[in-house]
Structures are given as C-alpha cells and as structure tokens.
C-alpha cells in the first residue's frame, strides 16, 4: 500500500473535523473525572494544526515535516498534559516519515510504534492507570504482532483499532491513578477516560482515512 503526503494531510484534517464533532462528548467525560475541558483543549490544539494545514503545510510534501509541524503546533497551542504527550508522539513518529512524500505500510507501522512509544516515555503511565495508555498500549501490541504476521498494514490496523477500542472501554472499570483525576478514587469508576477516548478516535480516524484512500 502507498499513502501520500496529501492523504496524511487528509487524515489530519479528518481529525480536526472529528474533534469538533466530539468536543462536547469529551468535555462531558472530563467533567466527571477532571475539570471538564478535554474537548476544548483538543479543539484548541487541532484548530491550530488546521491553520498550519491551510497555511505553511499547504504545499508541503515531506511527511516527516508535516508530522513535526503538527506536533509542535499542537504543543504550542495547548500546553496542558496532552500537549507534550501528542507532540512527543508526532515528533518521534516523524522520524519514520523523514524526507518521504509517499509512505509504505512499513513506514506507517514504524510511525505508530514510535508515536506510541514516545507518548509512553513522556507520560510514564502504564496500563491500568486510566489514561490514553490503556488505549494505546493494546494498539501497539496488536500492531507489532499483526503487522509482523501479514505485512498487510490495512488489515493489521483494523485489528489495532479493535484492540484500542477494547482498551478504551476497559477504562470504565478502573480507578484513576494518574493525572488530575487520580484524586477521585472510586468516583472515577464507570466513566471512560477522556484521553483514552480521544486517542481511540484518532486511531479510528486514521483507519477510515487510509481505507477511503485505498478505495480511491
């Protein structure tokens, strides 16, 4: 499979749109666990990325640069905890894309592995802490094992999204241990972690984007 720089930009655009649609839902989840602003924070960051997509990145064909600019822009716009986490993800992932205007399945696999490893390193959270890592770690493991078996990125990523969804759902049943919501104790039970939800949505958006790119 081949994914072009334009399609990477379509993916980022699709995330922008998706976050606007899910903004209220993400805030609602966060009101139960934190200060209720996760949707707003994600929106501020992705709107800033959108401005770059329509500006500096409009003609950019280097997928590595697109990823670096996305990470830095998101970070500068939001700060917060998601800023450094996603920025680290996009900047680490950028190495797999460096100098490339067309990406193979191997590149995409390397990107997501570096992306998730970067977030893990920056946030130091583990599975069971009720964070985005509960979504991303199963996704990482699924990608490593499924891509290794088939070398078919699209079908591997289908499994990744399924594993991520299960991971996200699992946050309902765990007590918060990290971030601001860690002081909630049992009151955090029953609610999906907003960071786990938005990271799942981003992976899902990537899947739908590359699927429609294949059809086209």
């Amino acid at each position: 499979m081949k994914i072009t720089a334009e399609e990477i930009k379509v993916f980022l655009k699709n995330v922008v749109t998706m976050i606007e649609e899910e903004k209220d839902y993400l805030c609602e989840l966060d009101r139960k666990l934190g200060d209720g602003d996760h949707g707003v924070t994600m929106s501020i960051g992705w709107q800033a990325v959108n401005e770059k997509l329509e500006g500096d990145l409009k003609e950019e064909q280097d997928c590595g640069k697109i990823s670096i600019v996305t990470g830095r822009t998101f970070l500068s716009a939001v700060g917060s905890s998601v800023g450094p986490l996603y920025a680290t993800g996009f900047m680490r992932g950028a190495k797999a894309f460096q100098g490339k205007s067309e990406l193979s399945g191997e590149d995409l696999k390397d990107f997501w592995i570096a992306f998730i490893e970067g977030i893990k390193e920056r946030g130091k959270a583990e599975v069971g802490d009720k964070t985005m890592i509960d979504t991303l770690q199963p996704a990482l493991e699924s990608l490593q094992s499924n891509f290794g078996k088939s070398n078919d990125f699209l079908s591997a990523f289908e499994s990744v999204v399924q594993a991520a969804e299960k991971g996200m759902e699992s946050t309902k049943d765990i007590l918060s241990k990290r971030g601001r919501s860690s002081r909630l104790g049992e009151r955090s039970l029953g609610t999906i972690d907003p960071g786990a939800a938005s990271s799942f949505m981003i992976l899902k958006t990537f899947l739908t984007t590359i699927k429609s790119a294949q059809v086209a």
């Binding site: 209220d24 209720g36 602003d37 700060g79 917060s80 800023g83 450094p84 002081r183």
Partner: protein, 334 residues
Amino acid sequence: MKKLINNPTKVVEEMIEGYVKAYPNHVRQLTENERALVTAKETREGKVGVLIGGGSGHEPAFIGYVGDGMADGVAVGNIFASPPPDPILEATKVIDKGEGVIYVYGNYAGDVMNFGMAAELADLESGIRVGSVLVTDDVASAPKEEKEKRRGIAGEFFVTKAAGAAADKGYNLDDVVRVAQKANDYTRTMGVGLTPCSLPQTGKPSFVLAENEMEIGLGHHGEPGIEKGDLQPADQVVDRLVHDILMDMPIDSGEKVAVLVNGLGSTTNMELYIMFRRVEQILSEKGIEIHRSYVGSYSTSLEMGGASVTITKLDEELAAFIDHPADCPMYVQK
C-alpha cells in the same frame, strides 16, 4: 453562567492585554512570546531568576506575583491548563542573569511535563541552569504516605514568596531551591468548595453540589475532594480544615507560622475574615504564634465559591523571607 467576556476563545489574550496595560511599571509582555511576561524593571546581574506559571483562571495567581521580591517572570497557560514550553523558555532566557533560574509551579501532570521540557531546552539551547520546586501543599489530594503526589494550591504563594525573597537577598541557585523546597515542605493547605465555576468555552459548571452542600478538599480546578456533606457554620468548617492540617504537620506550642485564608473567587472577604478569626482562636489556644497573616483571594478558581486555609511553619530563615518586602501589582508588602 453569566460572564463579562467578548469571545470565549480569546479570554486569556484579552486578559493579558488588559493586565499589561494596567501595570506597565511592573510587567512587560515579551515580543518573542505573548504568553510570557517579565518584570518591567531590569533585574541585577547575578540574581537568580524566579519563574512561576500555570493555567489561567487563578488570578491574581500567577501573573499578579511578578514584581520586586517575588517572581521575575511568568508563563501563562490556557484556562486551567499548563503553559507549553515556549513561553516558559522565552521568559527563562530573559530573566537569567548568569546565576540560573528557579521554576516554582504546582505539581500537576501537565505542568511537570511542560516545565520539564522547558528546563531541558534552557540547558540545551542556552546553557541556563534551571532548578525546580514543585508545590505540593494540598493535604486532601493524596495521603501522607504519598505526599509527593499532592497537588499545589494556595500555598504556592508562600513558596514563591520564599524563593523570591531568597533570590532578592542574593542567594545562589542551590540555596534558593533549598529555601523554596523547605517552604513547600513546611506548608499545608486544606480547602472547602461551596459552588462550582464554569469554563468560558463550555459555560457549564465544572462539578455539581446541592444548594446546601459543601465539599471538603475540593481541588482548584473542581477536582472532587474527599468528603461531601451538609454546609456547616464557618467555625466548624475551619475546625475541620485546621485539624486536618495539624494532623498532617504537627506544630508545637511556641512555634511561628504564616497563615493564608484564601478565597476561591466568589467567596466574600467578610466570610474570609470570619474564617480567619477562627483560625486565630485555634492557633492561639495551642500557643502557636501567627507571625504574619494574609486574608483575601490570592489564588482563585474563576468564580468558584469556597476557601482554603494555608499554614506555613516558620524557622528563623523562613520568617525573614516572609517579612521581606515585595512590590507586585496584586500584592505589596512593606
């Protein structure tokens, strides 16, 4: 909830603009980054720089504490969100006078990552030494055995005060860090929430409390506390708050303390004085000497209703720093 704003997405920019225009003799905005403010006065060569910062919505914290004897720079985040590394880094470069910079900020996951990244960049890009003290005064936010996980709330005022005074007196970076760390170790805060605040972008209350309810230990961003119950008279609430502080940090008769009774936004000074009255009764009964007291809204959560009590134990060194003069737009001490 009703707010006097123009555009919810522009509140931080417009607030900074107004603040800088209101206090041009105290602060200036950096052209390199509009979320970085520094003292308008030229600081001495060789003085350790003091940098504070955090999310917006806590005014007068943190912007209000840039001035003589306090902080030299501040990085301003979005509402209740840590600033990114850029404004922290830009302010660091300006306030470094060759002796390094201390970062004083509340212990929140986002702040730790962003200030941590900025400290690394300051070292890598500009060779500036940075020391950090994370404020962890909120007793309710984690048990004593895990007190390094506690978040920072109103007590940050005293930690900033100690760092600012030590830097002003010419201490080197290691000593400023030591003093600020000691101030943090000697500081405890307990709060109570009565009514929620709402973020300008969502307009919705950040948590729900019934008309007759209060919540002990409620966080500065609406994070749920440790106990909800019927609203009690001020004396009983203060008894509980001071009791929890003294259980966590015993103070002997004859020791000196600084006290801050802090309003969270919409609680009146009248209520805060009523609360302080009780704090004073309890401490004087125990023979604890109040060396200096502060009553008012020093660190708020937008229009949240409620208050906190902060007690800092003072040894000779800290007492001198608490007495050190300060001249900030939102806080003057002679």
